[in-house]
Symmetry: D2
Subunit: 187 residues, 4 copies
């Protein structure tokens, strides 16, 4: 059974919603999923990350990069960097949420990919050519992110992110699960 | 009178349209504008760039970064890099066009900003908080780019880019013109 | 008289040293300089930033991007983003320190440049072609950064950063001061 | 047997040397290696890329990003993007050479990682904590790159890149080979 940690920070609930959608799809696929809110990490969370086949990093984009509470988690991970408890050789993926379709969320995804590379992780992107090129894929990766997932917040508190983002997150979860499973089988 | 070069590469006409809108607004403001297609540069173009107060770089995003013909121009500029003919101390700005609202156009803008910094240029971004935060600014910087302008191509060959992109380009041209004029006055 | 704020976070003193060298050179040039440790900002600091002609952002690179305490300051600045107290039209520059010559400090400089662009600031890079290309410039911008300054920490607690980094910081301060002065004169 | 393509552009021989060192190590490990100079690609090269388990992208950094001849290859790959001949699910890695230790090579590695993500590839970084932190690893990943390999050119035409870069490239080749083999086994 594949073990995956979905680590996240959420300021107003949008990223939590995205993380939960992603985690829910992973569970439906049979993975052992651990949702970890980085603002209240305990030993069990760090242990889950140590055991995991893959870790997903999810946080809002504030002022053009990953939110400060999530960055505090990234900085704290330097304690295990390069150690036996480190994440070298694990699968990694990134997701971010902003109030705009575009722009600076890409900088956040780069930041997460570089962070994962520092830990020696293997990076899995979205690989879902979206709506403008494939009109039948309505709302799926509509903005055309590839390095990771970029979602856009909506004001409707029941929805939190666009319907297309929910679908994209589920498809991304399937891709990430398949990559983790394949990587585990080959190990 | 402020002198500005708008250098561009355009594969299918979208970036040409964006460059022309930008250049047209500069002319309306009284600037001496030189449009330079980087696929056919001559001595007059390089001379115009040498004389200019500011240079704008505009190119499509292909496969996640600036198009290869524009990159060939960037590489060719290494001949004047750090020389008396170089661009140190000039104002610079960047624009790119893609078929998606988002994502990898940001990488292109970063690429252009780093390129300008290599030449010792001063970078002027968009500074136009867009529609999702200010609903009355319909279509203006709708996707929320700030480092430079990110436009989205449309299939209508008469329009080439979204109407909001045209408005955004004009506003960006006014900002860039004002910055070049202020910089020239202070020099 | 040009007013400049040097905002910084320093975990172990290296970035503080860099910020102080930069600020010291600015003072020698006659600028009104305000050093602001972002972990203890008060009203006077925010007021100084509001009044300043230019703001310098300096922080260590931890795990491939700007340190979390500095990111907390960046996030807090969203309160003045786009407001009358905002930083639109001010000059900006960035500096970072890491334990390696290279690599992920570039990501931090990109992060700072994007942040400054979100605030509508004008970005001033290093413009100092360094030692490998100009051997007579021993130690100056030795690693070849251009978007901002990248310094490398040393273990000697009296020195904190390489001697060449100190020289580079002073030269960068002169460039930034000249840019702020020119911008102010033209305004 | 693992099949790997090392695609490269080399302006003055430095990147060719890096690519050959990398390819030589792969061959010593038993991989079927195909070296592809992107300035003279034929059907056999594209077929090798189509068949490969992994593709390595190697090019010099010119003016802050990947050289224009290599970008022409990246642009040309849009013909197979998202098609049955595409590279989705293959392993990818990146290498670049510059005349400075640092700085803008990071932008090139980001550019390559984003490009690979567009193709749906899985990205493998360097994962080799280098000399400043581990003094016994003399010359190995001395500058501290993680997203990919950053080498520095030297003037000695017999050597082309630093001795430590040669060692780092061999270690990176072993890591990439192991990742491709594991991925193939799990598939």
């Amino acid at each position: 059974m594949v073990e995956i940690v979905v680590s996240f920070h959420s300021g107003s609930g949008h990223t939590r919603r995205l993380a939960e959608v992603f985690a829910g799809e992973l569970e439906a696929l049979g993975a052992a999923v651990h949702l970890a809110d980085v603002t209240s990490l305990g030993d069990a969370d760090w242990l889950a990350m140590r055991r995991a086949d893959g870790i997903v990093f999810a946080a809002p984009t504030y002022m053009g990069s990953i939110s400060s509470p999530f960055k505090a988690f990234m900085d704290a991970s330097s304690d295990i960097w390069g150690s036996e408890d480190g994440w070298s050789g694990k699968m990694a993926a990134g997701m971010t949420v902003g109030s705009y379709a575009s722009g600076d969320k890409m900088t956040s995804l780069i930041q997460l990919a570089v962070f994962a590379a520092q830990h020696g992780m293997i990076w899995v992107g979205v690989d879902d050519i979206g709506a403008p090129v494939n009109p039948e894929k309505e709302g799926i990766n509509e903005d055309g992110y590839c390095l990771g997932m970029g979602a856009t917040s909506v004001r409707d508190k029941a929805q939190m992110i666009r319907a297309g983002d929910v679908t994209t997150a589920r498809r991304f979860a399937r891709r990430f699960h398949a990559a983790c499973a394949r990587w585990a089988r080959g190990g």
